[in-house]
């Protein structure tokens, strides 16, 4: 087993374990913290896949900003210990069967077509995925989508303020 493969298997095991722990934790706070660990593991994987800029964005935006927002809301609403499965007894087994079915489907597809995407040996320059190269693309070819994204973030901000404000009308 090569070092690269061992490294990948270790990170993959961490990310899957944290995802499963997130699903099974009864306490919402623990779920959120496990999700932070999962995001950090995936960010490490991005770094190993020559995506340095995206890895840093992942850590600051996902593991930083978004998860802090989640934790803030959990603290605001209070943690609740909920049960798995819904009001119907068949819900949990059916969900697990459907999840396993999806994994089987993906595995079968990968077994059948995986040969065509097995090659990953090409070496790349250090500039690939650096902030400079991604930024150059963002500000030239993808300038319009980039500006639309800023409008989207503004709309989301205004929407969040309006949804949570206590107006004259009761309710929302």
């Amino acid at each position: 087993m090569t070092t690269d493969l061992a490294l990948f298997l270790g990170i993959a095991a961490i990310s899957i374990l944290t995802a499963v722990s997130m699903l099974l934790s009864r306490d919402t706070i623990y779920s959120a913290l496990f999700l932070v660990l999962n995001f950090l593991a995936v960010a490490t994987l991005y770094l190993l896949l020559n995506a340095a800029f995206i890895a840093m964005v992942q850590v600051t935006v996902y593991a930083g900003a978004i998860m802090v927002l989640f934790l803030f809301v959990i603290m605001l609403l209070g943690t609740s210990h909920d049960t798995l499965g819904g009001p119907y007894r068949w819900q949990l087994p059916v969900a697990i069967i459907l999840g396993l079915g999806l994994i089987t489907e993906l595995a079968v597809t990968l077994m059948a077509r995986g040969e065509s995407i097995s090659n990953n040996a090409a070496s790349v320059s250090e500039a690939f995925g650096s902030p400079a190269s991604v930024g150059k693309l963002l500000f030239s070819e993808y300038l319009v989508p980039f500006e639309v994204t800023s409008v989207l973030l503004l709309v989301a901000m205004v929407g969040a303020v309006i949804l949570t404000r206590r107006g004259k009308q009761e309710g929302l």
């Binding site: 927002l69 990953n120 969040a160």
Partner: protein, 105 residues
């Protein structure tokens, strides 16, 4: 890192399935929302893996640009979604999704 792309796609698929499972089995709205984030993240992982596979080509970097946009959209989605959850909690005093059924016919 010299690992076959199919391994990374397999990891991405497993994480996506775990996200779906989370949406199906958990009752807490916030945990369901976190599972959706997990699914978005696994899609990002597939984008990055394919960008690495196509790497010597100049177009390969576009995969990483798409991931940047997905992260931006996810941030906007989280802001609005959590605001909705807070608004629902104010009205109904619950985050359990089975009790939020006012629209049920």
């Amino acid at each position: 890192m010299n690992v076959p792309t199919s391994y990374i796609i397999a990891l991405s698929g497993v994480l996506f399935s775990l996200g779906i499972l989370g949406v199906l089995i958990r009752r807490n709205t916030i945990v369901i929302f976190m599972s959706i984030e997990l699914m978005l993240n696994s899609a990002n992982l597939a984008f990055i893996a394919f960008a690495r596979m196509m790497a010597p080509a100049a177009e390969a970097l576009r995969g990483q640009v798409i991931v940047f946009f997905i992260i931006a959209v996810a941030a906007a989605e989280v802001a609005v979604g959590l605001a909705l959850i807070v608004a629902i909690f104010r009205n109904k005093e619950t985050v359990n999704i089975d009790e939020v059924n006012s629209l049920q016919g």
